[in-house]
C-alpha cells in the first residue's frame, strides 16, 4: 500500500515539475528552511542537529588519539560514519550499514577531506607515534529527502564547534579541552534531483522517489569545487551540471551564513 501512495505522489510531483512548480511551493533552486542547533551532546567534542525542512539529522565528533598511517607518520586523519537509523523512516531497518549509508558517509567524507578544510599535519601529536583521528558520525533521525546536504551541514557545523581534548599520558582527560579544531575552509554539499528534464535543488522525499538521477557538488567559500557525486539510473547533460555548479556556489554561500 505504501508503494501505491508513493506512485501517486510521484505522478503529482512530476506533473507539478512539468508546470514549473514544486509540491511544497519552492522554486527549483531554493533550499528548505535550515535550522542548526549546536552542542547537543556534552560527551561529544562537537555536535550539531540540523533540520532541513523536516529532514532531521545529527552529527557528533569524537577526537581520539591513535596510530598514524605508516606512509604519513606526521598526519592525523578523519573517519566519517553514517547510520540510516530506523527512527528516520519506516523503510529503514536496523542492522549493518547498507550501500546507501556507505555512499552517504563517503560523500560527506570527501567534501571535507578534499576541500583541505582540516590540515592533517596539525592533527599530529608526536610524529610516527600518535595523531588525532577525528571521528565524524552522522545519524538520520527523520528522512524527508536530501540526507546528503543535511549531513554535510551537520558535519561542518559540528567541526566548527569541535574542541580538542586535553591529553594526559597520551589519554584523553574527560571534559577538559586544550583548544579548538582549526578549519581552513567551509565546504558544503549541494544536491540536485533531475526529473522530467528539470533539475531541482534540495529534493524532498517525494521528489527523490520521482527523480531519475541525482547530482551533488561540494563547494568552498573561495570558489573551489571539491567533490562531485552523481547517482541514480538516469543521466545529466554537461550544461545541466554546469548550471548545478553555479547554483551550488550561490546557495552554499547562504547556508554558510547560518554557521
Amino acid at each position: 500500500m505504501e508503494e501505491t501512495i508513493w506512485d501517486l505522489r510521484t505522478d503529482k510531483t512530476i506533473a507539478a515539475i512539468k508546470e514549473g512548480k514544486r509540491l511544497d511551493g519552492r522554486k527549483f533552486d531554493e533550499y528548505r528552511e535550515v535550522k542548526i542547533v549546536n552542542d547537543i551532546s556534552e560527551n561529544a567534542d562537537g555536535s550539531a542537529r540540523v533540520l532541513l525542512g523536516k529532514t532531521d539529522v545529527i552529527a557528533g565528533i569524537k577526537m581520539v588519539p591513535g596510530d598514524p598511517y605508516p606512509d604519513s607518520p606526521d598526519e592525523g586523519t578523519i573517519s566519517v560514519g553514517a547510520e540510516l537509523l530506523p527512527l528516520a523512516s519506516p523503510s529503514f531497518e536496523s542492522g549493518p550499514p547498507r550501500e546507501e549509508a556507505t555512499e552517504l558517509a563517503r560523500v560527506v567524507d570527501r567534501g571535507i577531506r578534499e576541500s583541505k578544510a582540516i590540515d592533517f599535519k596539525k592533527l599530529c601529536i608526536r610524529e610516527g607515534e600518535l595523531v588525532w583521528i577525528v571521528f565524524i558520525d552522522v545519524y538520520t533521525m527523520n528522512h524527508d529527502g536530501n540526507l546528503f546536504d543535511a549531513c554535510s551541514i551537520a558535519a561542518l557545523s559540528s567541526l566548527l564547534k569541535t574542541k580538542i581534548p586535553k591529553l594526559e599520558a597520551d589519554r584523553v582527560v574527560a571534559h577538559e579541552y586544550a583548544g579548538k579544531l582549526a578549519l581552513a575552509r567551509k565546504p558544503l554539499l549541494s544536491t540536485f534531483a533531475k526529473m522530467a528534464n528539470n533539475v531541482v535543488l534540495d529534493p524532498i522525499l517525494s521528489e527523490e522517489k520521482a527523480m531519475e538521477a541525482r547530482f551533488s557538488c561540494a563547494t568552498t567559500e573561495d570558489d573551489c569545487l571539491c567533490a562531485f557525486q552523481k547517482g541514480g539510473g538516469g543521466s545529466f547533460t554537461e550544461s545541466e551540471i554546469d548550471n548545478c555548479i553555479d547554483v551550488a556556489f550561490k546557495k552554499a554561500k547562504d547556508i554558510r551564513k547560518l554557521l
Binding site: I40, E42, N43, G60, I61, L87, P90, D137, A174, H175
Partner: protein, 253 residues
C-alpha cells in the same frame, strides 16, 4: 578515571550535585517530535538525551516469526558513538543487546498485545548524550512514544534508577555516584497505577535492608516520572486539538 580515596556522596542531606537523596535530576519530555514514525518522543533527563521512534503494529516479517495470538515487541536500544566519554564502536555491543531484550519485555505487560496478532511493534531508541541512567530514561521515553503512536496500553511504564553510593541509598544516580567504590545501581520500571514491577536489574553489593529502602525511593521516583510523561502527552494532545481545529477552519488541503 582513578577512583577517589574518600568522598562524601551525601553531606548535610545534599549530594555532590546539590540534590537531595530522593531527588531526580530535571526531566523534560516531548511527544511527537518525528514526522515519519508512527509515534515518537524526545527526553532530556539531566545530561541524558534520548530520541525514540515507534512503528506499528505492522506485519511481522519474515512471516515465520509471527505470533498468531499477539503482537511482538521489538526494542532496539542504541548509543550514538559520541554519546559516551570514550567513543563507542558503531557496532551494537552486548550491553545494548541485553538492555534491548529486558526493556522490550518490560513494555509487553503495558501493551494490549493480544489485540494485534501477527504484528510487530518496533521501538527504536537512540541515546544522544549520557550520564548514568540511560536505560530507564529510554524506557520512560519509549512508553510516551507508544502512547503517541496511539497503541492501546494498560498504563505507561515509568522507570528510574536507584542505588547506593558512599553507603547512602539514593535516587537517580549520576555518573559520579555510579563510579563510587561501593556503588549499587538498580534500574527499575513499574506500571505506576498497580506498582507492578516490569523491569528490575541490579549490580553491586546490597543488603536486604538497603534493597527495601531503595524500593521506597524507586516508587517515589517513578511517580514523578509518570507525572512528566503524562504532562508530555497532555501537551501533545492539546496541540493536536489546536491543529485539528485550525485545519477544520482552513478546510482540507
Amino acid at each position: 578515571m582513578k577512583k577517589k580515596d574518600k568522598v562524601d556522596y551525601v553531606k548535610n542531606g545534599k549530594r555532590l550535585d546539590g540534590r537531595k537523596v530522593d531527588e531526580l535530576r530535571p526531566i523534560k519530555i516531548e511527544a511527537g517530535v518525528l514526522q515519519r514514525a508512527d509515534g515518537s518522543a524526545y527526553l532530556e533527563w539531566g545530561q541524558n538525551k534520548v530520541l525514540v521512534a515507534v512503528y506499528g503494529p505492522r506485519e511481522a516479517l519474515p512471516k515465520h516469526i509471527q505470533n498468531p495470538y499477539r503482537a511482538l515487541v521489538n526494542y532496539n536500544y542504541r548509543m550514538a558513538t559520541f554519546s559516551v566519554p570514550d567513543r563507542k564502536s558503531p557496532k551494537p555491543g552486548r550491553r545494548e543487546i541485553e538492555i534491548s531484550k529486558v526493556s522490550g519485555e518490560a513494555l509487553e505487560r503495558a501493551i494490549f498485545l493480544e489485540r494485534f496478532p501477527n504484528t510487530t511493534i518496533d521501538v527504536f531508541v537512540e541515546i544522544l548524550d549520557s550520564n548514568a541512567g540511560t536505560r530507564v530514561a529510554a524506557l520512560s521515553a519509549a512508553s510516551v512514544a507508544l502512547a503517541d503512536a496511539g497503541i492501546p496500553m494498560r498504563d505507561l511504564v515509568s522507570a528510574v534508577g536507584v542505588g547506593k553510593a558512599g553507603g547512602e541509598v539514593i535516587l537517580d544516580l549520576n555518573k559520579a555516584e555510579e563510579d563510587a567504590p561501593d556503588a549499587v545501581d538498580m534500574p527499575i520500571a513499574m506500571l505506576p497505577r498497580t506498582k507492578e514491577i516490569v523491569l528490575l536489574q541490579m549490580d553491586g553489593l546490597f543488603t536486604k535492608k538497603e534493597w527495601q529502602k531503595s524500593m521506597k525511593l524507586a516508587e517515589k521516583g517513578c511517580e514523578q516520572v509518570y507525572e512528566a510523561q503524562r504532562e508530555a502527552l497532555r501537551k501533545k494532545f492539546l496541540e493536536a486539538e489546536k491543529e485539528d481545529k485550525k485545519s477544520k477552519k482552513a478546510g482540507d488541503q
